[in-house]
């Protein structure tokens, strides 16, 4: 806890005004690392398991790097698979933080105030995972500097992938800086300045919606793939995002409530459950409307749905998956639609788990993969992910969980006042 300022700018600031925050920052980093590396046995076991999975993933990825993407189940006909499916799903999870941000900062609903930090941590982890899935999917990760704005050649505004790179990174920056600012202020026993964080949060709401819309447009813009080329793609992505994301959050918030002294109000959970319910109901309606269009009078453009739901020419690898997904989404929606069952924590949790899994399947195997089947000239080449793909994906998920755990643990410790700046570094104007 040195008081010596790290850097001082002699022109714009006196050592006193910059030195204290910098010293506090240094102390914060030390405290945060300390917090992240200490915990109960269960905590260490959890982190060790995640590390192990990440190592397996890294090893699998190294074989993919040296051999090429041939180690995956993808081929020239199904050229995107599990990685892009996960990417699509995780973008939705990231966007779902808005469900907490909106009521907290716009509607000033105090019930959400405590949960919002956790939601933002989840958004950060989800965006990092989504970026990870793109990185493992490209053939030349070393050449990714070609898509860095200002350094490479960025095909903006033509390419929706270029848009996605922008919205993902800006969303990540907002969701890192604002919560950091709030936490750091609390750490220094100060009130964060709403003039700074409220506009930023409002922007994050806009960004969350565009994040998921842009990702949907990335698919919907391709006339070559009739399965994706429909106007419902964007709204449907939003509906599933606001189902799966908050469902996951409900589960995580309960775990945090149990494991730490950071108690989330049951009122928060109840309100989120309502959001999940409405989003799930909309999802079901949209699914029905899509199926009606595909099957009332099937055309060549319905071939992918035909293959997905019923199989085509004896190929039906996705059929069991999609029916499972639809079955559990409908079941969970039914559970949530009954007030009594939604208010019962047990049935609520079951419904949330079901929705999370159901939408994970539906977004990946039900949306991305069938877009490629049958291929452009009507032939069916199926896709089955390989073990390498599964292990790499598991590694990224473990990495996300690892990151989230650290962020949430440090955040909770600050909010509970367990780690705070030492008086020596608290600087002038300290009210504590």
């Amino acid at each position: 806890m040195a008081t010596q300022p790290l850097i001082t700018d002699p022109v714009t600031a006196s050592p006193a005004s910059w030195g204290a925050p910098l010293a506090a920052l240094r102390e914060f980093v030390v405290d945060a690392v300390d917090e992240a590396t200490h915990g109960s046995r269960a905590y260490h076991l959890w982190m060790a398991t995640l590390t192990l999975i990440m190592c397996c993933g890294a090893y699998a990825y190294s074989t993919q790097l040296s051999t090429g993407l041939a180690v995956t189940g993808m081929h020239d006909h199904v050229s995107w698979g599990l990685y892009i499916s996960n990417f699509t799903f995780l973008v939705g999870v990231a966007a779902a933080a808005v469900v907490l941000v909106l009521p907290t900062y716009v509607l000033h609903d105090v019930a959400f105030k405590k949960a919002v930090l956790i939601g933002e941590a989840m958004a950060v982890a989800a965006v990092v995972m989504a970026i990870g899935f793109v990185v493992v999917d490209v053939g030349g990760p070393a050449r990714l500097w070609h898509v860095t704005p200002m350094i490479g050649v960025f095909n903006w505004p033509q390419s929706l992938l270029a848009w996605d790179i922008v919205v993902l990174n800006v969303y990540l920056i907002i969701n890192v800086t604002v919560p950091f600012y709030i936490l750091f202020s609390h750490y220094r026993n100060r009130e964060p300045d709403p003039r700074f964080y409220v506009p930023a949060m409002l922007m994050s709401i806009l960004w969350a919606v565009s994040l998921h819309l842009v990702t949907a447009f990335l698919f919907a813009g391709l006339a070559a793939r009739p399965h994706w080329n429909n106007a419902l793609m964007g709204p449907r992505f939003l509906a599933t995002a606001f189902t799966a994301g908050p469902a996951l959050m409900i589960l995580v918030l309960q775990v945090i409530s149990k494991q730490t002294a950071y108690k989330i109000r049951t009122e928060t959970i109840a309100k989120m459950a309502l959001v999940v319910t409405v989003a799930a109901q909309i999802t079901v309606v949209m699914t029905i409307s899509e199926m009606f269009k595909e099957f009332y009078f099937p055309t060549h453009h319905s071939m992918s749905s035909q293959y997905l739901f019923f199989g085509l020419d004896g190929h039906h690898a996705l059929r069991p998956w999609i029916w499972t997904a639809i079955g559990i989404i409908v079941l969970a929606t039914a559970i949530l639609s009954i007030h009594k069952l939604r208010r019962n924590p047990w049935t609520l949790n079951v419904a949330c788990v079901l929705l999370f899994i159901g939408i994970l399947i539906e977004k990946g195997l039900g949306t991305v993969v069938p877009g490629f089947i049958p291929e452009n000239w009507g032939k069916i080449h199926e896709y089955v992910p390989t073990s390498t793909e599964l292990v790499v994906s598991a590694g990224i998920w473990a990495g996300g969980a690892f990151l989230f755990t650290i962020l949430a643990k440090v955040g909770v410790a600050v909010e509970l006042g367990q780690i705070r700046v030492s008086p020596a570094n608290s600087g002038p104007g300290d009210r504590a």
Binding site: L69, D137, V147, N376
Partner: protein, 336 residues
């Protein structure tokens, strides 16, 4: 926002700097490369990921002069810019580098051309459905001419065997092993149509693929990041991906190459038909046109009123596939 790279933004090989030239940054001093600030940032940022081994080879005091040269060339290749935005000098440097690298690797020499489009030329193609008998000589010639990966049986051209009575690709087979022409069947070939309104180039996040002024849709294999968005966007299954390191037996390699055409690809990049750019820009027809024993394939300059392709368009009842998508293919089908 698209960033236009100016000429000096791109890495150029320069003579080694005079010793003790303190004004250049350390990367430049070590490598003898002329780099600007932006390139230096890119270099520093990616050096760990890609260049550690190369650097090691370049500065290894025990390395041979050749291994050092090779490392330098590979380093320069890694940081080269988008081909389309290069000056003609840079294009020359780039292809010379490729030739030298190949020579060092295999001991054989190749010629890589960077020839630009010819004046007043727009290439077009026509396919005579009545003539094609499914011999697949075009497919073989294409694979050979374009140095396509033999290990994965890559082929740009597909021949679909249709049963007489309908044109329905869903019912046709592109995977037949029997004597041709089979009774009661006819054949249609598909490949890249070099769409005049290509969806594939529009979606590329890095502009690694584009349409040249002579209408050929090309890929810069060094600039492509391998995201495969273009494959999803193409409605005609025209693009192929190198899922692993492509291989061509040494004795079968076609040494007459073009940077945007049949030069050797690396793993993790997309490739496609280029109307044999290494031939067409030399005034020759693509290999498939020459190989076809029935004369079903016609190629020429759409801007030349006396060309055979213009005659076909004027005198035959031509059609194109998936016209409803508005891609404006420059490959027409017709029947005698």
């Amino acid at each position: 926002m698209r960033v236009n790279q100016s000429i000096d933004d791109l890495v150029q090989i320069q003579p080694a700097p005079p010793p003790g030239d303190a004004s250049r940054n350390p990367v430049e001093q070590l490598l003898g490369l002329q780099v600007d600030r932006r390139t230096a940032v890119a270099m520093a940022g990616t050096a760990l990921a890609a260049g550690a081994g190369l650097l090691n080879a370049a500065f290894n005091p025990f390395g041979t002069a050749e291994s050092k040269e090779k490392a330098k060339l590979e380093w320069a290749e890694f940081f080269q810019g988008n081909f389309r935005l290069m000056s003609s000098d840079e294009k020359q440097d780039t292809v010379r580098r490729l030739e030298r690298l190949y020579e060092m690797e295999s001991g054989k020499s190749i010629r890589v051309s960077a020839d630009g489009p010819r004046e007043r030329v727009l290439y077009g193609y026509a396919f005579n459905v009545s003539r094609c008998e499914g011999y697949m000589d075009c497919v073989r010639a294409c694979v050979q001419e374009n140095n396509q990966d033999r290990s994965s049986n890559m082929a740009y051209i597909r021949i679909h065997e249709h049963e007489k009575g309908e044109i329905n690709f869903e019912h046709a087979s592109d995977d037949f092993y029997h004597q041709v022409p089979a009774a009661g069947h006819f054949y249609i070939g598909t490949q890249c149509y070099h769409c005049q309104n290509p969806p594939c180039t529009k979606v590329c996040p890095t502009q690694a693929t584009w349409m040249e002024p002579d209408g050929i849709v090309v890929v810069d294999y060094n600039w492509c990041i391998g995201c495969r968005y273009c494959m999803a966007a193409c409605p005609y299954d025209a693009r192929r991906f190198n899922w692993s390191d492509p291989s061509v037996p040494e004795e079968e390699l076609n040494p007459n190459q073009h940077y945007l055409g049949n030069r050797m690809r690396k793993k993790g990049v997309v490739e496609k038909c280029t109307f044999c750019i290494q031939r067409s820009r030399n005034g020759k027809s693509p290999a498939c046109v020459e190989a076809c024993p029935t004369g079903a394939r016609i190629f020429g300059n759409l801007l030349d009123p006396d060309s055979e392709i213009r005659w076909v368009l004027a005198n035959k009842k031509v059609f194109r596939l998936k016209e409803d998508l508005g891609t404006e293919p420059k490959l027409w089908y017709f029947m005698d």
